[in-house]
């Protein structure tokens, strides 16, 4: 079940005009910012389907930028997001894509700051609810209802065991886990959904584990 709370239905409180195209877009931007770990210098935003066709009218562009600036759905500053992005030296470019994606409301954000890069693909499924469907082109399937760890790691034996051992030793229960890779022996992505939020010291321990490349913490939305 995708919707778990009554406030997914009666809510969110938001700046209009569209829950999927404005509030959902702001949430995709905000989530991308959080996954990136701060504000990027430059973002390329690829828009698909209904997002591409109607983003100007729905304020999808200002909402995405607002989210990237750290604004939530009910923040009035979304309306002036273009000017605020310029003032804080964040460059944003929108690219309209004709190709069809799995969901009509899809935005793919490519965030850059110095040598750091992250690609986040989000979909807005209605009423302001969103899902992340891929990160750095790795398909992921997480609800966002629970905290999660995204662990990029070398696709060799033992890495998964080392990571889950660290979690087990710290008495952390895994509720759902998924591993995806693009090519054998390359970098793979482990998506681990957890029952509770995790202490930063434990995340650091995972980060130090042999074979682990990068760890991103995803808080529940």
């Amino acid at each position: 079940m995708k919707y778990k709370s009554v406030f997914d239905i009666i809510g969110p409180v938001m700046v209009g005009p569209s829950s999927s195209h404005t509030a959902g877009a702001a949430r995709i931007g905000l989530l991308a910012r959080n996954l990136f770990g701060g504000q990027p210098d430059h973002v390329d935003i690829y828009l698909y389907g209904s997002f591409k066709d109607t983003y100007k009218g729905h304020g999808t562009d200002v909402a995405l930028i607002g989210g990237l600036l750290g604004f939530d759905t009910d923040d009035d500053r979304i309306i002036t997001a273009y000017a605020l992005a310029e003032a804080s030296s964040m460059q944003v470019q929108f690219i309209e894509m004709d190709e069809e994606r799995s969901h009509p409301n899809t935005a793919l954000l490519h965030l850059v700051k110095g040598t750091e890069r992250l690609t986040v693909e989000g979909i807005s499924i209605g009423g302001g609810k969103i899902e992340v469907v891929s990160i750095n082109d790795y398909p992921i399937n997480i609800s966002g209802n629970y905290p999660a760890l995204l662990v990029f790691h070398k696709d060799t034996f033992g890495t998964i065991a080392r990571v889950t051992t660290i979690l087990g030793n710290n008495r952390i229960n895994v509720s759902q886990m998924n591993v995806a890779r693009k090519e054998k022996g390359d970098i793979a992505l482990m998506t681990i959904e957890l029952d509770d939020t995790i202490e930063s010291a434990i995340i650091e321990e995972v980060r130090q584990a042999s074979g682990v490349d990068r760890v991103i913490e995803m808080k529940e939305s």
């Binding site: 997914d8 209904s50 009509p104």
Partner: protein, 290 residues
């Protein structure tokens, strides 16, 4: 978590509770939060709805100028006493228009279940307050009941215009409002489900065809239609009229209709009213395209 309207109704009937209370109990169980916290959040949502309604009656206009000021017209018309419909319906229309005009003007609203359909539930709720003696607590409970029905729709079908057309947005909102109206007026949970089913059936097939892709034309007026349809369905259910097709099957029908709807009619601004000569002209004037 309840997976169907049937399950929700059975639970409410067996435990002799209102649907609102069943919804709150589930929310407590799923989130681990207290009754008071959950209740407070809904009160806050109610306050946002109230401010939006008031803002609209003060007169707002969207940046495009396509919508706005109609809530003011509607209010004056009600005050003139010349209205054809009963005052409850007239107020529902006025409040729905007011909320959605504020939404179109990028004002602050509470999505119920979406922003494009945000006028329907508050529309009938504030109309009830205008014409009947209802408490703040009744109003909060109304929102939980609406939310309970919307919750099932969102999980079993869709509340997104891009996925299911306007039937998924204004249709869902109208059915949610009808169910909550029945409960507020003292109907049984089963009667609420019939009210819900009747309202949604009347909205099946409604496409999402916003002119220039904006949540303005025809969205604002469709919210008024959703609000008055909710009152129609609620009155029928309270009269003891039953829906021949059970509520859950109506939800499934709505979902399947959405799946077969062409993308031009699902919030792309490419079909229906958006593709009329006037719709195309408005788009060209606003964005200078085609």
């Amino acid at each position: 978590m309840f997976k169907s309207i049937q399950e929700m109704i059975e639970k409410a009937t067996a435990e002799n509770k209102s649907i609102a209370d069943i919804m709150i109990a589930q929310e407590m169980e799923v989130t681990g939060r207290s009754y008071l916290d959950i209740h407070k959040d809904m009160e806050r949502n109610l306050e946002v709805m109230e401010s939006a309604v008031e803002e609209g009656f003060g007169g707002v206009e969207s940046t495009t100028g396509l919508t706005g000021m109609d809530a003011v017209k509607m209010k004056k018309y009600i005050d003139s006493g010349r209205g054809l419909s009963g005052e409850l319906t007239l107020y529902a229309i006025a409040h729905a228009v007011s909320t959605n005009e504020v939404n179109a003007a990028m004002g602050k609203i509470c999505a119920t279940p979406t922003a494009g359909s945000a006028g329907v539930v508050p529309g009938v709720l504030f109309a009830m307050r205008e014409k009947h003696d209802i408490s703040r607590e009744d109003m909060v409970k109304f929102l939980f009941t609406s939310g309970a029905f919307g919750f099932v729709v969102a999980n079993n079908a869709s509340i997104s215009g891009a996925a299911g057309g306007c039937q998924a947005e204004v249709g869902s909102a109208s059915a949610m409002a009808a169910a909550a109206l029945v409960e507020m007026a003292g109907g049984t949970p089963e009667m609420s489900a019939h009210g819900f089913a009747i309202a949604l059936k009347n909205m099946l097939g409604l496409v999402c065809d916003p002119v220039a892709g904006l949540v303005e034309v025809p969205c604002v007026k469709r919210n008024a239609a959703g609000a008055s349809n909710a009152l129609t369905a609620a009155d029928m259910a309270l009269a003891g009229i039953e829906s021949r097709i059970p509520a859950d099957e109506v939800v499934e029908a709505m979902y399947k209709i959405g799946l077969t709807m062409p993308s031009a009619l699902r919030e792309t601004g490419r079909g229906g009213l958006a593709a009329t000569p006037t719709g195309e002209r408005i788009k060209a004037e606003l964005f200078g395209e085609q």
